[in-house]
Amino acid sequence: MRIIKYSDALREALREEMTKDENVILIGEEVGQGYRGCFGVSTGLYEEFGPDRIIDTPISENSIMGLGIGAALMGMKPIVEIMFSDFVAVCFDGVLNQVSKIKFMSGDQFNLNFVLRLPGGVGNGTGPHHSQCLESIFMSIPGLDIAVPSNAYDAKGLLKTSINHGNPVVFFEHKKLYKTEGNIPEKEYAIPFGRGIVVRKGKDLTIVAISYMVKIAEEVADEMKESLGVEIEIIDPRTLVPLDIEIIGDSVKKTSRLLVLEEGNERSGVAAEISYRVNEKFSDYLDYPIKRIGSKNSPIPMTPKLEKAIIPNKDSVISEIRKYFEI
């Protein structure tokens, strides 16, 4: 085992798959030269794999997406990096009308390997155009699988699976996670889609959290255990499509209370979808209606007090849990 950063883990996944298969290419702004990876993920790969594999593009998101789609149609395994997930709006046609639909539209003639990497989430004061968590928008589009790794180990393992997935994957990274560290085995590994994990065990309340909100859930669980003796179980589904509904069901059967926590906008969010799915299958086991927490429905402010008021944090989550579940 080694302790490495989330961003380094992603780079390891890229390097391993690029070494194995010359069809694997990385496309994006500043991924090779210049910044050498805006968040340092691809630093050094240009020197190793050269300009045909680590492809720096002009500021042309539509072309970045199209480069990936066209290369995938030609049997390659492109990884498309959109520098900030917010910018994906510029090339949303490629997501909504093209890559997600090609398998269906072609009558299964094409099964694409295609990864869209989207760094999202609030940094510190990154404001309305560089902070959003957009998972729910993608989750509503048929034809896309979605990964939301919350730690370095999952980031590497899920990216390796995504690159060879045979179906387009939207891969959400979180800016606040890049520098977080985790244990990574020396040996190569991959993590299958559709398998969540129990991040920590507990008996009183289940929190399903995704991406950076897993860290917040852990802080919440630590504090509530210490101050109130409440034992919280945390589930990280790791992929949203497909969703491991059973692992959530198993937890709810034990705790009878469920909170779903995300950083994206609360309205029509990931949490709303997960809540419905749990309700549909496991409502008999619930003592309380399901609670969801996401960001308040507002553009993300830059100024610190407003930003803090919008995005879920440890204190706001604890306060809502105590009020709602009468703890």
């Binding site: 199209g66 066209g70 090609i102 539209m105």
Partner: protein, 314 residues
């Protein structure tokens, strides 16, 4: 360069095939066999056949929403395209998507486009893959005059030129984007737009198949030899409405009649006869096409609609 007699007849046959195919689709559309809308390319047969038939077998094709002719010229079977257009399971894409969205992997057709302008960035990816794989191929990226106003066009011209990508941009300039004349949508001609990026361009009489074919051969050869993009603008005219049922009053009857005078098929036939090709040889090709279309129609109509099963749920 002189076009061989056999090639002349092939070009003729393909244009007739496209026209008869489109007439059959029109018949199906007006009798309720086709669902949704279809965009016909009657009048534009030379632009489709002349460009696509200069492709090599390792070249790729990205057709437009008005793409039946481009697909057929690229070798797509009439019967499977027709079955697709009327939503039958024997269609190219299992009948799922119809006229505007057909893919035909076997014939290197990477998907027709319902979203105007989406083909340009995809062509970049195809071109980049061709370069990475060190293939001696190119991709034909079709678009209409109206679509040259999409931002994706300019991005793609820039990157194709910057990276020397083997993309053959084919503009079928039929003067109208839906009901709007090109002069109301753009300040400069399409070829000028490409020239700004240092891309080789040719403007041809899109109703003259020899002109289209010979210039396409030359440009495709240039694209593949040098791995550089090129653009051809085929000036032609759409006889039918934007979609099959449309008859909006944005063009005068006189204008349509005038353009029908430069019918790419009728006029080519006259030139063929001047070229010592006999009436019988021409009729033989016409009869062959009639048979193909009749068989295609029978095949398509006899095919079943696909049944729902869970495999399409994603």
């Amino acid at each position: 360069m002189k076009i061989s007699k056999e090639k002349l007849l092939e070009l003729f046959e393909k244009m007739v095939l496209i026209r008869q195919f489109e007439r059959k689709v029109y018949e199906f559309a007006t009798t309720g066999v086709v669902r949704g809308s279809v965009h016909l390319c009657i009048g534009e047969e030379a632009a489709a056949a002349g460009t696509v038939m200069s492709m090599g077998k390792d070249d790729y094709l990205l057709p437009t929403h008005r793409g039946h002719g481009q697909g057929l010229a690229g070798g797509t079977e009439s019967k499977r395209l027709l079955a697709e257009i009327i939503g039958r399971e024997s269609g190219l894409c299992k009948g799922r998507v119809g006229s505007m969205h057909f893919f035909d992997k076997e014939n290197n057709n990477l998907g027709a486009q319902g979203i105007l302008g989406a083909q340009f960035p995809i062509a970049l990816g195809v071109g980049k893959a061709i370069r990475n794989k060190k293939m001696r191929s190119c991709v034909l990226c079709f678009f209409g005059d109206g679509t040259s106003n999409q931002g994706t066009f300019y991005e793609s011209l820039n990157i194709a030129a910057l990276w020397d990508l083997p993309i053959f941009f084919v503009c079928v300039n039929n003067l109208y984007g839906m009901g709007t004349h090109y002069s109301r949508t753009s300040k400069v001609n399409i070829s000028k737009k490409a020239e700004l990026f240092g891309i080789s361009t040719k403007v041809v009489d899109g109703n003259n198949i020899e002109d289209v074919y010979l210039n396409s051969l030359e440009l495709i050869d240039y694209v593949k030899k040098n791995s550089k993009p090129a653009l051809i603008e085929c000036k032609t005219y759409r006889w039918m409405g934007h979609s099959a049922f449309e008859s909006r009053p944005y063009r005068t009857k006189e204008e349509i009649a005038r353009w029908k005078e430069s019918d790419p098929i009728k006029n080519f036939k006259v030139r063929l006869l001047d070229n010592k090709i006999t009436k019988e040889e021409i009729e033989e090709r016409e009869n062959k096409v009639n048979e193909i279309i009749a068989e295609a129609a029978e095949f398509a109509l006899k095919s079943d609609y696909p049944e729902f099963d869970d495999s399409i749920i994603q």
